[in-house]
């Protein structure tokens, strides 16, 4: 075996024996913070004279014959600086044992069979490294049995590392599985430190691409210098099953577009504020999103990719998803309106660049839109609306951004090809008399500029010229004082001219 890691050879403490070692489950009174160097079986009080410091004293026979004997033993253990007193559970009423353990600062442990316990404790005290290794081996076996399930893996960790609380957090520090940490106060003022206890051990869980999937964090009391390395090692054993869990989840979801869609929709459902703890469903959705590598914490930006000039076919989702994943990254893809939408944690400029690649890569003519950047999933719906609008105004092969959209972009988005024919019909009376196009040009200028004077300036003609032309236009039946007519004619002019 290779050289043991630092800390593994530190003497085991009483608490370590009770919470994770040979005394697991025994009733303990006192702190158990003292290290155990050896074990001594004591069958009569006179034997206490030769008990060395840091000894776990195991009481049997006359030395355990009733409360008085155990109390005397505790006193003698205190005088001899022993590590703890281990007594048969029949020896003493817990009440007085607890009182005396506290008064003397001597840890008292009740076990069913002191002699068997003595042998186990002796072996743990003599070879602390072996005892800790045993725990690691047991944890490894049970982790292997647990399989790739975050819940099962965390269950094993918390059962094996008794006295420690193990939590699996996503890369944003949100709870995914395991025991919840007590709420930490946010740091107060500048430079304040988090109020929560320092972690015993922390291990990063990578995803397949080497990015960060999440963190395993163990909290608990520091029982001995040897304890954190053991905890860290056991947490390390859980990394592979958790990575496998993530991979399995990803594989399953990528096979099932509908599942992902449903998950994405669930994530952005409007939820009642500040009720995260109560909503187990939201929580499991978040856990699965984390497994899929989706961003769930802001700033986030929505996108929408749509086929140009037609609605998305129902069977095109998988292909679109594949292309989006290849160009934009691991983001949710859901069907929305005429295309596929989702969100990304990329900055809008980068996202626009990736979407351009995406639009080019798609096997059919497409356009894309980007919504405004929002701080959380709660506001995602707004961003998605913006992305949808932007995608509608985006020209073929282009990416439009909602935060840069103005009237020109809206007008530009008008389907000129489709409208050209009806526009021709509406303007037919005018076009019939407008041989050189000056009447159409004048009408457009008047409507665009909102008056004859400005129209004359734009056209570079005298005001009376414009007035005269307007008279001819009105004469063929256009009533420019009617708002509906005016809008229709202006649209028609725009379509015909641009």
């Amino acid at each position: 075996m290779s050289a043991p890691k630092a800390g593994w050879e530190a003497p085991v403490t009483v608490a370590e024996l009770v919470t994770a070692g040979p005394l697991a489950g025994a009733l303990m009174y006192g702190t158990g913070e003292k290290p155990v160097h050896e074990v001594r079986i004591v069958d009569e009080p006179s034997a206490f004279g030769t008990v060395a410091p840091h000894t776990a004293v195991v009481l049997v026979g006359a030395a355990a014959s009733g409360g008085w004997a155990v109390e005397m033993a505790m006193r003698r253990a205190w005088e001899q600086a022993a590590a703890c007193v281990i007594a048969p559970s029949s020896g003493l009423s817990p009440a007085s044992g607890a009182v005396l353990a506290e008064r003397l600062g001597v840890t008292l442990i009740f076990v069913d069979d002191p002699l068997v316990t003595a042998v186990r404790v002796a072996s743990a005290a003599a070879r602390p490294e072996a005892a800790r290794m045993q725990l690691v081996a047991r944890a490894a076996t049970r982790l292997a049995e647990a399989g790739p399930s975050a819940r099962a893996v965390l269950g094993v960790l918390n059962a094996e590392l008794q006295g420690a609380s193990v939590t699996f957090l996503d890369r944003y520090g949100r709870h995914l599985a395991g025991r919840r940490l007590p709420d930490r106060e946010p740091p107060e003022g500048g430079g304040g430190r988090p109020a929560g206890p320092a972690a015993l051990a922390e291990v990063e869980v990578p995803d397949q691409e080497g990015g960060l999937l999440g963190r395993l964090v163990a909290h608990g009391s520091l029982r001995s210098p040897g304890w954190p390395p053991v905890v860290r090692t056991v947490l390390g054993l859980a990394v592979a099953p958790l990575a496998a869990w993530s991979a399995t989840a990803r594989l399953a979801a990528s096979r099932d577009f509908t599942l992902q869609e449903a998950l994405a929709v669930r994530l952005i459902e409007r939820r009642p504020p500040r009720e995260e703890g109560a909503s187990g469903e939201q929580e499991s959705a978040a856990a699965r999103a984390a497994a899929l590598g989706w961003p769930v914490r802001g700033p986030l930006t929505a996108y929408l990719v749509r086929p140009w000039g037609r609605r998305a076919g129902p069977e095109e989702g998988l292909a679109a998803q594949a292309v989006i994943a290849a160009t934009v990254g691991r983001v949710p893809v859901t069907r929305r309106g005429e295309g596929w939408a989702g969100w990304s944690a990329l900055p809008p400029d980068d996202l626009a660049e990736r979407l351009r690649e995406c639009v080019e890569a798609l096997p059919w003519p497409s356009a894309a839109g980007i919504g405004t950047t929002v701080e959380s999933l709660e506001a995602m719906e707004d961003s998605l609306l913006g992305a949808e609008a932007a995608a509608i105004v985006a020209e073929r092969g282009a990416v439009a951004r909602a935060d840069r959209m103005g009237p020109a972009e809206l007008l530009g988005a008008l389907p000129a090809g489709v409208l050209r024919a009806p526009a021709g019909v509406i303007l037919q009376p005018l076009l019939a008399i407008d041989k050189d196009g000056t009447l159409l040009e004048t009408l457009t200028a008047v409507l665009d500029e909102g008056g004859a004077l400005k129209a004359a300036e734009r056209l570079g003609v005298h005001r009376n010229t414009v007035t005269t032309r307007l008279e001819r236009i009105k004469a063929v039946g256009f009533d420019l004082d009617d708002a509906a007519t005016r809008l229709a004619i202006q649209l028609a002019c725009h379509v015909i001219l641009h």
């Binding site: 006359a62 014959s65 009733g66 008085w68 003397l104």
Partner: protein, 344 residues
């Protein structure tokens, strides 16, 4: 010096006998006191052992068995005399004075009744200086005087004369006492006045009369000193595992946990086997038999019987130092912690 214990002195005598008595039941004590009152009219002569002719045959008189049985099966009245007469028959000579085996409650009154009935003096002293549960746990035994021959008189008039070697008396006595009705008067330790003078704890009857007077303080009853161990409240009363003792003791071991109400607020454990035989404070030994450890109720000053201790009771734990002979090697062997199965 000689004086008499008559009706006038009886109340003080009775009160003094209860100052450190554990195990006294009210009904049996009243009954015995009434019995003594009916006979004490002419008074009993109290003599020091040294005042008797050195060859005077003396016998220790005591109650054996259960006090509760005494209150249920009433005495016929001639049991004390019957026991002594039977002993005399076995000895072949008359008994010229009686002495108490111990002076706790009924055991102080029965020798007085015997002396009154037989019209012999009561010796100013006793065989323990305190109380022990076994007939052979006495300073007489320590001085090498045998308890046998021993005569028993039961309430139904049955008389038994028992003769055996030292160390066997307790074992033979117990089934006999049960057979004659649960209690009996025993006359034992036949010895000369000369031997008695050297073996007894002397002067304890006078002291008891003194201490029993209403104006007396409790320490005046104690020849060798006493101290208060703690004042506190009983937290728990627990059973304790049976221990390996020679002649098994008449009752089951129990354990009383007292939390000191002031000062260090120590956890005081009183280990009892018939009586309190060991006191620990925070696990450290602070008193053991042969010194007498008793709980006194802070409410009424009465000694709290081990069997009547209940959680919540406020008590003072006091330790009465035993006669020096009990602290010798031989004394500790007979009346020390080991005699009660405690290996400290």
């Amino acid at each position: 010096m000689s004086r008499r214990i008559g009706l006038a002195e009886l109340p003080a005598y009775a009160a003094g006998s209860r100052l450190f008595a554990t195990g006294a039941t009210e009904s049996s004590f009243r009954l015995t006191l009434d019995w003594a009152r009916s006979l004490a009219g002419q008074g009993v002569e109290l003599v020091a052992a040294g005042e008797l002719a050195p060859g005077t045959r003396c016998a220790a008189v005591t109650l054996a068995g259960s006090m509760i049985a005494l209150s249920e099966q009433l005495p016929g009245g001639d049991e004390p005399a019957g026991a002594v007469r039977t002993l005399e028959r076995g000895l072949g000579e008359p008994v010229g004075a009686v002495v108490a085996l111990n002076l706790a409650a009924e055991n102080a009154l029965i020798p007085l009744i015997a002396a009154a009935t037989l019209d012999v003096p009561l010796v100013d002293g006793d065989g323990t200086g305190r109380v022990f549960p076994l007939v052979e746990q006495t300073t007489f035994t320590l001085a090498g005087i045998g308890a046998a021959p021993l005569a028993l008189a039961g309430a139904s008039g049955e008389l038994v004369l028992l003769d055996t070697v030292p160390g066997r008396v307790e074992e033979l006595l117990r089934p006999l006492v049960l057979a004659v009705g649960g209690w009996a008067v025993a006359a034992c330790y036949p010895m000369s006045a000369r031997d008695l003078a050297g073996a007894q704890v002397a002067g304890t009857v006078s002291r008891l009369l003194e201490a029993g007077r209403p104006e007396s303080a409790r320490p005046s009853a104690v020849p060798f000193g006493m101290r208060t161990l703690c004042e506190g409240r009983i937290m728990a009363v627990e059973g304790s595992p049976r221990r390996d003792t020679g002649p098994s003791l008449p009752s089951l071991p129990s354990s009383i946990v007292v939390e000191e109400s002031q000062g260090l607020r120590r956890l005081v454990r009183l280990e009892a086997y018939n009586e309190i035989v060991l006191a620990l404070a925070d696990g450290a030994v602070v008193a053991t038999t042969p010194d007498q450890i008793c709980m006194v109720s802070t409410r009424d000053g009465a000694v709290v019987d081990v069997d009547r201790a209940v959680p919540g009771m406020d008590v003072e734990v006091i330790v009465v130092k035993a006669a020096p002979v009990w602290h010798t090697e031989r004394g500790l062997e007979l009346g020390g912690p080991r005699a009660f199965g405690l290996v400290l």
